[in-house]
C-alpha cells in the first residue's frame, strides 16, 4: 500500500498514535437559515490561506429555514479534495441530528458541540469538546439581531484554537468577507478571540488532528463554478442574458447580475453594454436569447434540468433555424423536481437530442473551475462559428461548491463571430441564400437584422425551408437541408475541446468520466495504482466526440464509464458512437444525490476487476 491509500485506512481505524497533519474532513452540522455561512467561509478561507489544499461543499435541503444543513471542509495535503463519506471532525450545532451525525465520525474522530447538548454513550472512541456557546455570547453581548450569527462564531474560535488555524488568517478571511466593514469585522473577531481564549484556558488537546502552514495554494484562487462560469461569460463578450430562477442555475445568473456592472459599463456614460432580464419562465428565457442571438448578440441563459425540459421546443427550433445561443445547464437530480438541491449528471442523454425530429445538440462539459471560466467564453465562439445552440453542462457540485483553481487564463484567441455577411459583402455577391452550404462544411452564411442592403433580409422559420429560407414542403429540399445539418455536426467535432487523457505505462484497462467527478476519479486512480491496478483515464469535455476518444477506446481492453446518473447515459452515447466497441464499455453509475467519493470509485472498479489486476 502506498501512502495516500494507507493513510486513509489508518484514519479509518484510528490506530495511528501520531499527529495527523492537514488531512481531514470537517463537517459543520447546522439548521438552514441559522446564519452559519460566514463562519464556515471564515474557516475554509483561513485554511486555504494557510496554504492547505481544501474544498468546501454545502449540502443543503430544498428549504429556507429549519432543516438540517451540512457544510463540509475537506483539507488534504496531497491535494485530493473530493467528497469523503466519513468525517474526522464534527461541529455538531443541530440538536435534532446530533446523534445521527455522530455515527458518521471515524473512530478516533473529534466532536465539537454546544455544552447544553447531551453526549450519547455510543461513541466512547470520539474526543468530545464542549463549547459554552450561550455563555460566551452572553458575556460578549453583541447586538440582539446578530446573536444567531455570533453563536456560530464561537465554533470558529474554539476549533481554530484546537486545530491550530491561525487567528490572523481568520481575521483576513473576515476582512475579505465583510469587504473592510470595520464594525462587522471587529464584532465577529471579538467573539472568535474570546472563544479561542476560553478554549486555551479550559480545554486540553486530546485528538490527533492538527493544521500546519503549507505552501500549496500559493497563487491559487477559490470560488464556485457558477461564479467562474459567469466571469467566463462576461469575458466572452456576452451582451444579453435572460434567465428564470431555479436551483442550482440561479447563482450563475446572479453572479452575472452582480459582476456585469463591475466589468461591463461604458466608462464615459456609465451605461450598460449588456442587458439582463429575469423572465416569466424558461420558455421566455430561451426565446429571448434566441431573438438576441438571431440579431447578432452573444446571448446566454442559465438553468437546470426542469428548465431544460421547458426549453426543448425552442432548443430544437434554434438547432433547425441555426441560431447561436449558449445554455448553461447546472444539473441537479431528476426526474421531475427530483432532489432539487443535490448534484447529478442526469441530463446528458436528454440534452444531446433535445428537440423533436432529428436534433443533435452540442455539449461542453467543464470538469473544474478553470474550465467553467474557459467554456464561459469559448462557448460563444463555438456557437457563433457553428450557428448552433451550445449547452454547457455543469452540475450542482461544481456550480455551487467551493473549489480551488489556478488563476484564470485570459482568452487566448480573438472572438470568432462566425460567418456573417455585411452590406459590403452582399454588394460583392451575385445572390445571397441564408441556408446554402457555400464552403462544404455545412455552415451557411448569415446576415444580421438591420443590415442595410436590399439583399440582406430573409424570413426565418422553424418549418421546412429551402436555401433561400423560403417555406418548402418538397421532400428533396427537406432531405438536403437535414443532410447539410448532419454535415455541420461533423464539422462541429473539429471545434470541440479535446478530452484530457492521463496514461500510465502498461495499463490495459481504462476509465472514462466527465465533469465534477474528476477529483474523486483522480484520488481513486491513485489508490488503485498503489494497489497495483494501473488504469488510464480519459475525461470527456465535449459532445460530439473527437477522434482522441475513438482512439482511446480502441486501444484499451476494458473501459469503465463512470458517471453520476442511474442509466449510464454517457455510456449509452459512447456505445451509439462506436457500436463495434460497445462490449468493451462497462457502465459504473453513482446516483444518490451526493458527489462521488474516491472510495466508491475504487471499490466499484475493484469488484469488477476481481483478480484481473489490470490484465
Amino acid at each position: 500500500m502506498n501512502t495516500k491509500a494507507a493513510e486513509n485506512e489508518v484514519q479509518a481505524t484510528g490506530a495511528g498514535q501520531g499527529k495527523i497533519i492537514n488531512d481531514f474532513s470537517m463537517v459543520v452540522a447546522t439548521v438552514n437559515g441559522s446564519g452559519s455561512q460566514t463562519s464556515n467561509l471564515a474557516l475554509i478561507r483561513a485554511l486555504f490561506r494557510m496554504g492547505i489544499p481544501v474544498s468546501g461543499k454545502n449540502m443543503f435541503p430544498s428549504n429556507i429555514q429549519g432543516m438540517p444543513t451540512y457544510f463540509t471542509v475537506r483539507a488534504n495535503k496531497d491535494g485530493f479534495t473530493a467528497r469523503r463519506e466519513k468525517m474526522e471532525i464534527l461541529i455538531g450545532m443541530n440538536p435534532e441530528t446530533f446523534d445521527e451525525d455522530l455515527t458518521n465520525l471515524v473512530e478516533g474522530g473529534v466532536c465539537f458541540y454546544p455544552d447544553q447538548f447531551q453526549i450519547p454513550e455510543t461513541r466512547d472512541d470520539v474526543v468530545f469538546y464542549p463549547m459554552p456557546v450561550q455563555q460566551i455570547v452572553k458575556e460578549q453581548n453583541p447586538p440582539r439581531v446578530l446573536q444567531n450569527y455570533m453563536r456560530n462564531m464561537v465554533y470558529v474560535g474554539v476549533v481554530s484554537e484546537l486545530l491550530g488555524i491561525e487567528m490572523g488568517e481568520i481575521r483576513r478571511a473576515l476582512e475579505s468577507h465583510f469587504k473592510g466593514r470595520e464594525k462587522s469585522i471587529e464584532l465577529n473577531m471579538q467573539i472568535v478571540e474570546a472563544s479561542a481564549l476560553w478554549a486555551r484556558e479550559n480545554l486540553v488537546k486530546e485528538d490527533k488532528y492538527i493544521v500546519e502552514r503549507d505552501n500549496q495554494t500559493e497563487g491559487m484562487i477559490m470560488l464556485d463554478g457558477n461564479t467562474a462560469g459567469a466571469l467566463g461569460t462576461i469575458f466572452g463578450g456576452v451582451s444579453f442574458v435572460a434567465w428564470y430562477p431555479i436551483t442550482p442555475g440561479s447563482s450563475l445568473a446572479e453572479a452575472l447580475q452582480s459582476n456585469l456592472p463591475r466589468l461591463r459599463k461604458d466608462e464615459e456614460t456609465s451605461k450598460q453594454t449588456y442587458a439582463i432580464i429575469q423572465t416569466e419562465d424558461e420558455l421566455a428565457a430561451i426565446g429571448m436569447i434566441i431573438g438576441a442571438g438571431w440579431a447578432g448578440a452573444r446571448a446566454m441563459t442559465s438553468t437546470s434540468g426542469p428548465g431544460v425540459s421547458l426549453m426543448a421546443e425552442f432548443a430544437g427550433f434554434a438547432y433547425f433555424t441555426e441560431i447561436p445561443i449558449v445554455i448553461w445547464d447546472v444539473q441537479r437530480m431528476g426526474p421531475s423536481t427530483g432532489l432539487p438541491t443535490r448534484t447529478s449528471q442526469g441530463d446528458i442523454l436528454f440534452t444531446r437530442f433535445l428537440g423533436h425530429g432529428d436534433t443533435q445538440q452540442i455539449m461542453l462539459i467543464p470538469g473544474n473551475i478553470e474550465e467553467c471560466f474557459e467554456f464561459g467564453w469559448r462557448s460563444f465562439d463555438i456557437a457563433e462559428r457553428l450557428q448552433a445552440p451550445v449547452f454547457v453542462l455543469s452540475d450542482l457540485d461544481l456550480g455551487m461548491n467551493l473549489w480551488m483553481s489556478k488563476p484564470f487564463e485570459y482568452p487566448d484567441q480573438p472572438m470568432d463571430r462566425g460567418k456573417v455577411l455585411t452590406a459590403e459583402d452582399l454588394e460583392k455577391i451575385e445572390e445571397y441564400a441564408r441556408y446554402r452550404d457555400v464552403d462544404g462544411d455545412g455552415i451557411p452564411y448569415r446576415t444580421l437584422p438591420g443590415t442595410d442592403h436590399p439583399k440582406a433580409a430573409y424570413f426565418l422559420r422553424g418549418s421546412g425551408h429551402n436555401e433561400q429560407a423560403f417555406y418548402s414542403e418538397r421532400p428533396e429540399v427537406y432531405s438536403a437541408n437535414m443532410d447539410r445539418l448532419a454535415r455541420k455536426y461533423e464539422t462541429a467535432r473539429e471545434h470541440m475541446p479535446k478530452p484530457v487523457i492521463e496514461e500510465n505505462e502498461g495499463a490495459a484497462i481504462a476509465l472514462i468520466a466527465y465533469g465534477s467527478t474528476d477529483p474523486a476519479i483522480k484520488e481513486a486512480l491513485s489508490r488503485l495504482a498503489a494497489q497495483g491496478t494501473k488504469i488510464d483515464y480519459l475525461r470527456i469535455r465535449a459532445v460530439p466526440f473527437t477522434d482522441e476518444i475513438h482512439d482511446f477506446i480502441r486501444k484499451h481492453d476494458r473501459i469503465y464509464v463512470v458517471e453520476m446518473n442511474t442509466n449510464g447515459q454517457m455510456h449509452m452515447l459512447l456505445r451509439l458512437e462506436m457500436p463495434d466497441q460497445a462490449t468493451k464499455l462497462i457502465s459504473l453509475t453513482h446516483n444518490n444525490g451526493l458527489p462521488m467519493s474516491a472510495r466508491w470509485v475504487t471499490e466499484a472498479v475493484l469488484v469488477l476487476e476481481g483478480g484481473n489486476n489490470g490484465h
Binding site: 466589468l263 426565446g287 431573438g291 438576441a292 436590399p454
Partner: protein, 350 residues
C-alpha cells in the same frame, strides 16, 4: 370637418420620401383564404410603412404560429422576418430589440397565439414595455388547425368539430390595460383608414403598442351572429373618435369648436389627433377605458379607436440603461474587458 392631415395618400407608383414605391413594401403572394381579414391588415401595414417612408431594412417582422403568424411573409419582403413558436413571439422580439434598439419590431399574432398559449408572455412584454407594435389579428378561432376555440371565442359559439363554447372570452384590450400598457387600440379589419392611422400612431409610440384588430375568419367564424364576423363588425362598429396621426412640424391651422378635438403629444414631437364623434371619450384616462370596455362588452358593440394612450412609462431599453450604440454593433473592446481587468478582478477570490 375632416382634416386628413397625416393622411397624405401617396399614389402606389409614386416614390415616397425614400424614393421607394409601394411595391418595395409588398411581400410574397398571400396563401390565406380569399376574404381573410388578415390580408386586409397586411395591405394596411404596407400602406402605412410606405406612407411613413420607413426604410424596410429597419423593420423586423415577428410572429408566432397560426394564420396570423404566417402573414408577415405577405408584406415587407425587404425586412427580416422571424416566424417563431406558438405563443412565444413576444420573447424572441424582446431579445432582438434589446440587442439592437435601432430596429423597429412589428409583431403579428392571433387570438390563440396571444390569449391562449402565449398569454403570460403577452402580459409580461406589456409590463416591461418592450418597444414594438404588437398586432393581434383577432378572429376568435383557430384557423390553421381547422376550427377550434380560442380564448377570445364568443360564449355560445358553435363549431363543427368541437361543439359549443361554454366560456366567456378574454378581452385582450382589457388584459393589456391591466398589465399596464401605454397604447391600447381596437380596430376592425373592415375599417382600413382607421387601421392605417392606428399603425402610424403605434409606430411612433416608444413602448409596446397593442392593436387588437377584429379580423374575421371567412372559413370558420363568419356567421352573422358571431361578434368576430364581418357583418357584426360593420353593423355594430362604434368608433370612439376619428383618429389621425400628425407628423412633427406639420402644423394644421384649422379652427375647431372647443372640446371637439384632443391632441396628444408623442415623445418624438408628432401628435395623435382625436376628433370627437358622438360621445365624450378621454383616451388618457385608464379607468374610463376599462369602464368603456366593460360597457361595450355588455351592450354587444364593437368599440374601435385608440382606447388608451400614455407615454409616461419608459421603454425597456431605457429602463435597462443601455448604451446608445446597439449592443450588436459594439466593438470587441467594449465587449471583452482587458486582461488587466481579469487579473485584478480575480484577486477577490484569493
Amino acid at each position: 370637418m375632416d382634416t386628413k392631415a397625416g393622411d397624405k395618400q401617396a399614389k402606389p407608383n409614386i416614390p415616397n420620401e425614400l424614393g421607394l414605391t409601394k411595391s418595395d413594401y409588398r411581400g410574397r403572394p398571400s396563401t390565406l383564404c380569399q376574404g381573410c381579414g388578415h390580408n386586409s391588415i397586411s395591405s394596411q401595414i404596407i400602406a402605412a410603412f410606405y406612407e411613413l417612408s420607413i426604410p424596410p431594412e429597419r423593420i423586423i417582422k415577428m410572429s408566432g404560429i397560426g394564420c396570423s403568424s404566417k402573414s408577415p411573409a405577405y408584406f415587407l419582403s425587404r425586412s427580416f422576418g422571424f416566424n417563431s413558436l406558438h405563443g412565444r413571439m413576444p420573447t424572441v422580439t424582446t431579445g432582438a430589440v434589446m440587442v439592437n434598439h435601432s430596429l423597429k419590431a412589428i409583431g403579428l399574432s392571433g387570438d390563440g397565439d396571444t390569449a391562449s398559449i402565449g398569454l403570460s408572455h403577452f402580459k409580461n412584454i406589456v409590463r416591461r414595455n418592450v418597444p414594438m407594435i404588437y398586432i393581434i389579428e383577432n378572429n376568435g378561432v383557430y384557423g390553421l388547425t381547422k376550427g377550434q376555440f380560442s380564448a377570445t371565442s364568443d360564449k355560445g359559439l358553435e363549431l363543427k368539430n368541437v361543439g359549443v363554447n361554454p366560456f366567456m372570452p378574454i378581452d385582450i384590450c382589457m388584459e393589456a390595460l391591466v398589465a399596464g400598457a401605454g397604447f391600447v387600440a381596437r380596430s376592425f379589419a373592415g375599417d382600413p383608414r382607421q387601421v392605417t392611422e392606428l399603425l402610424k400612431a403605434a409606430f411612433h409610440f416608444q413602448g409596446t403598442a397593442v392593436l387588437d384588430i377584429v379580423s374575421p375568419c371567412v372559413t370558420f367564424n363568419n356567421r352573422d351572429e358571431s361578434s368576430q364576423s364581418y357583418r357584426w363588425g360593420r353593423a355594430r362598429k362604434e368608433p370612439l373618435h376619428d383618429i389621425t396621426w400628425v407628423p412633427k412640424r406639420k402644423e394644421i391651422h384649422v379652427e375647431f369648436e372647443p372640446g371637439e378635438v384632443l391632441d396628444v403629444d408623442m415623445h418624438d414631437g408628432s401628435q395623435i389627433r382625436f376628433k370627437k364623434l358622438e360621445r365624450d371619450y378621454n383616451p388618457t384616462d385608464r379607468i374610463s377605458a376599462m369602464k368603456m370596455l366593460e360597457d361595450s362588452c355588455c351592450r354587444g358593440i364593437l368599440v374601435t379607436g385608440l382606447i388608451y394612450i400614455n407615454e409616461e412609462t419608459p421603454p425597456l431599453d431605457e429602463i435597462e440603461n443601455l448604451v446608445d450604440l446597439p449592443l450588436t454593433q459594439l466593438s470587441v473592446d467594449a465587449l471583452r474587458p482587458s486582461k488587466e481587468k481579469l487579473d485584478t478582478f480575480i484577486e477577490r477570490y484569493r
